[in-house]
């Protein structure tokens, strides 16, 4: 089936709030996209319609879908996200979506481990919702730098780690994963976060022969597979576009020795 991608020029912002020292949650009325969005897919936002700066759209994972509402969770990084952070409920955004290939859920697996680092929490909301919809039990392992940056995940069954020990277990999310894997029978891992974390998670899963899916980031222009601007190297040594072949990949398809592209 062809996936339906839409451009909604005037999606109203319903609410927009700060949820940690660096993260914000923005909810958009997007009935046409809410119906088809899958976990791991993303929206491509034009942040300043009509002005040439910022010029390109910015990609953001779909954080959650509730009724007609689609939300994203984001961090202010540069000019685009700074402008976005100033937008108010009632204002509108030009949205393209839902884009990309999301997470595959294998209902045969016993444990479903959602491994998130920092803003990598973003796609886990909808993934957890979908798992629950299939009567499966998501378990979130969520690592952040400190309690100030912790976003309340809103997912039951969550373990937290922080680099400075100010919340949860002190250390990296990979140590939560290693602990949890010791008592797993037949797990599947779904990971999103910075490249070094994904590389470490993929390494652990490969060693233990556990299926692992990773959501990657890349600079994007078109978002639909037309420009070949967003590529990463796969394990065959070929370049694949993240926007349409990903952003979620089987971790074995990726060449983890390449330099991180972001």
């Amino acid at each position: 089936m062809m996936k339906k991608i839409l451009q909604i020029k005037n999606a109203p912002i319903l609410f927009h709030r700060k949820v940690s020292s660096c993260a914000r949650h923005i909810s958009l009325s997007l009935p046409a996209i809410a119906g088809t969005a899958e976990p791991g897919q993303f929206l491509h936002l034009r942040i300043s319609s009509g002005s040439p700066s910022p010029l390109l759209r910015r990609p953001f994972s779909i954080n959650d879908v509730q009724g007609d509402r689609v939300s994203i969770l984001y961090e202010v990084k540069g000019a685009g996200t700074k402008l976005l952070s100033k937008m108010l409920p009632g204002e509108t955004l030009d949205v393209i979506g839902p884009l990309g290939m999301g997470f595959d859920i294998d209902p045969q697996k016993r444990e479903h481990l959602l491994v998130a680092g920092g803003m990598g929490l973003a796609p886990m909301g909808l993934l957890a919702r979908s798992l629950k919809g299939m009567k499966l039990k998501p378990e979130l392992l969520y690592g952040c730098r400190s309690s100030a940056e912790l976003v309340k995940p809103g997912i039951t069954g969550c373990q937290i780690s922080s680099e400075d020990g100010s919340c949860g277990k002190k250390g990296l999310v990979t140590s939560l994963l290693l602990d949890r894997l010791r008592i797993c029978r037949d797990p599947a891992v779904y990971a999103c976060g910075p490249w070094p974390m994904l590389k470490a998670v993929a390494g652990i899963c490969h060693k233990n022969n556990i299926p692992c899916q990773v959501s990657l980031e890349s600079f994007m222009a078109c978002g639909v597979g037309a420009c070949q601007g967003c590529v990463v190297k796969n394990s065959d040594g070929n370049y694949v576009s993240v926007c349409d072949k990903g952003p979620v990949f089987n971790s074995r398809q990726i060449d983890w020795d390449q330099d991180c592209v972001i």
């Binding site: 062809m2 339906k4 991608i5 839409l6 451009q7 020029k9 034009r46 040439p52 700066s53 910022p54 010029l55 390109l56 759209r57 030009d94 393209i96 890349s218 600079f219 994007m220 222009a221 078109c222 978002g223 639909v224 597979g225 037309a226 420009c227 070949q228 601007g229 967003c230 590529v231 990463v232 190297k233 070929n238 370049y239 349409d244 592209v261 972001i262």
Partner: protein, 308 residues
């Protein structure tokens, strides 16, 4: 009630008839199917496909794109599927769409360009060819032919012999005298010119103290290059008689009008497709509106009416 006047949007480029003057620029609209649901090939007067080479090319190492002030850099490096896959897998779907297909080609040598041109000459569904002699992102071929009038002329002549349909040559702004190149290409048998391709550019990540692009340098496109593109168009318009297709930073119908008034018979949009896939529709309705307001019934009458 006053009837809304319909505007004749058709244009003709050296005998190539287009239903409207807005063309998708090579490398920005893929092979036509990627934007399904957002923009259709049939919206455009023509689609220029991604540069194709004889053999597939992997392209340059990432990162390949980076935003700069009012523009973007790319160093894709002519990543493409190669001619065989282009013809077998990509073309059949595009042919079914209601648009004119223009194939854009590049090679490492004159012989490779000629071989591609000869193969395309036999494909009846493709009535025109755009020669890419202006890609700044590959070492061999591409821009090597586009920066020297003698090489550009030799290549055009050789391709002309092998190709009987509409031959368009795409020029680079990365030269000291674009009019000289344009004249050389015209006298070697080109039917029309597209201008401009991207400008050489670069960006540095000050945190890493490294170039942002994996290829170090890239090509600049988008609104930032529009004045440069218009200037080049203006210069070439006064130097050759063959029709010109203008591009470089066109985002809306006002930009498109600037190019047409300066001398473009048609325009291409590139970066605009990324920012706003419905740019083609927005531009066409804006052009029609402008014609109505200014009592112009045929859009082709706008070409080159610049008063200086």
């Amino acid at each position: 009630m006053k009837k809304v006047k319909t505007i004749d949007l058709r244009v003709s480029i050296a005998g190539l008839e287009l239903k409207n003057p807005v063309i998708a620029a090579s490398g920005t609209f893929g092979y036509g199917a990627e934007y399904s649901g957002l923009a259709e090939p049939g919206d455009f007067g023509a689609i220029i496909t991604k540069t194709v080479t004889l053999e597939p090319r992997p392209g340059n190492r990432p990162p390949r794109i980076c935003e700069t002030s009012c523009g973007m850099l790319n160093s894709i490096g002519l990543a493409n599927v190669g001619f065989a896959v282009f013809r077998e897998d990509k073309l059949p779907a595009l042919i079914k769409k209601n648009t004119v297909i223009i194939a854009n080609i590049a090679g490492n040598t004159i012989e490779e360009y000629v071989e591609l041109a000869a193969r395309l000459n036999k494909i009846s569904d493709i009535p025109a060819l755009e020669l890419n002699i202006s890609c700044p992102n590959v070492k061999l071929g591409g821009i090597a032919f586009g920066t020297d009038p003698a090489s550009a002329a030799a290549l055009t002549k050789a391709v002309r012999r092998a190709y009987k349909k509409t031959l368009i040559v795409k020029l680079s702004p990365n030269v000291s005298d674009i009019a000289g190149i344009a004249r050389a290409v015209e006298s070697s048998g080109a039917d029309a010119l597209s201008l401009i391709n991207t400008l050489y550019g670069m960006a540095v990540d000050i945190k890493k103290q490294r170039p942002v692009l994996g290829n170090i340098t890239g090509g600049l496109s988008g609104p930032a290059i529009k004045p440069v593109a218009l200037y080049n168009l203006y210069k070439v318009h006064h130097s050759v008689k063959i029709p010109l297709i203008g591009l470089g930073g066109i985002m809306d119908h006002r930009d498109a009008l600037e190019f047409m008034i300066t001398g473009a018979a048609a325009v291409q949009i590139g970066t605009a497709n990324f920012v706003n896939p419905s740019a083609v529709k927005d531009i066409l309705s804006g052009l029609a509106g402008y014609c109505r307001e200014n009592d112009i019934t045929r859009i082709k009458n706008l070409t080159g009416i610049l008063k200086c």
